[in-house]
Symmetry: C2
Subunit: 156 residues, 2 copies
DNA sequence: TGGTGTTTTAGAACTATTATAATTATAGAC
DNA sequence: GTCTATAATTATAATAGTTCTAAAACACCA
């Protein structure tokens, strides 16, 4: 489940961190809520910029440290940007990504649509690939690359 | 079509470069053939190391310059590594990748198998995504992430 | 073969990320 | 609530991948 836009109060995040054996700190709370509220998947520096404006102060090193801690504990995933820097995603379930060639941004395909595609993948072919290659597929990453032709229709 | 293992003599590469408006140089020939002969998709530095051993000398800057030229002219593609550096691929058609979690290596799903999966994607769902988001999908990148459980069966 | 624009190159510069080590804060015991 | 042990934060330095610079070498065509 995507946690974006679900209001994340301090208590909720505290128990979420607790459940993942992560200490709760003001900085981690700030990074996690900033990450989870983003529609596109930000770089470490973009998060740092955003937090520098609002927060009383957080260091770039802490942004990196926190992101690494979140990834390690399964509360976020690290995505490879096509370019130089990494992008982070508070959604850790299997979901599709859209890369907008025009802007370079990376965002999510809405849950319902993405799930429909994942549910309709040819499982027999995936099984055949696993059997033939002797490879156990633990997850897939699918990226749709292209350009927007207009604004997206609102999906509920 | 993957060009791996098709013997690439100087004349063939010369006309290939010519067709793509790329000047033929000793260094570009070396980089391109090294790239096209790799089963896994190497980093710039891996290519440089490999060429340093065999060639009479090529600079790292030239490896980067050449890879950029190959990508720009459509003779290679740049792939995002999960980690720090970029990987390059002499196959420019749509094909699936395998990421081996154990080693971090990135390699191809054999053409026939990969094509079978691509041919069996639910086109109607893809169309629905395009229509709903107002997004024109120009290509997809699919990565199967997991671990090998044994050696692959030989595929012909 | 000569002239001209292109490529190569060593090295410097740049940028994203990670390491260091001193300071500060958290969580749990009392 | 206070104390303590352990973990997180921070400024800063170090590292690593990549790009830039400008001078020398080369490819291509007339
Ligand atoms: Mn780096
Ligand atoms: Mn870099
Ligand atoms: Zn996502
Ligand atoms: Zn490939």
């Amino acid at each position: 489940m995507h946690q974006n836009n679900h209001n994340l109060d301090e208590a909720a995040v505290h128990s979420l961190f607790c459940a993942h054996s992560l200490r709760f700190t003001r900085q981690r709370f700030a990074v996690y809520t900033a990450l989870a509220s983003e529609k596109v998947h930000p770089t470490a520096d973009q998060l740092f910029q955003k937090l520098s404006r609002s927060e009383s102060g957080i260091s770039l090193a802490t942004v990196y440290n926190t992101l690494e801690a979140l990834v390690k504990s399964g509360l976020a995933q690290k995505l490879a940007d096509g370019g130089t820097s990494a992008r982070y995603d508070a959604a850790v379930d299997d979901h599709l990504h859209i890369r907008d060639c025009a802007t370079g941004s990376l965002s999510d395909v809405p849950e319902a649509l993405g799930q429909k595609l994942l549910d309709n993948l040819p499982q027999d072919v995936l099984k055949e690939i696993e059997d033939t290659l002797g490879f156990r597929i633990s997850r897939m990453q699918i990226e749709l690359i292209g350009e927007y032709t207009r604004e997206a229709v609102e999906v509920n």
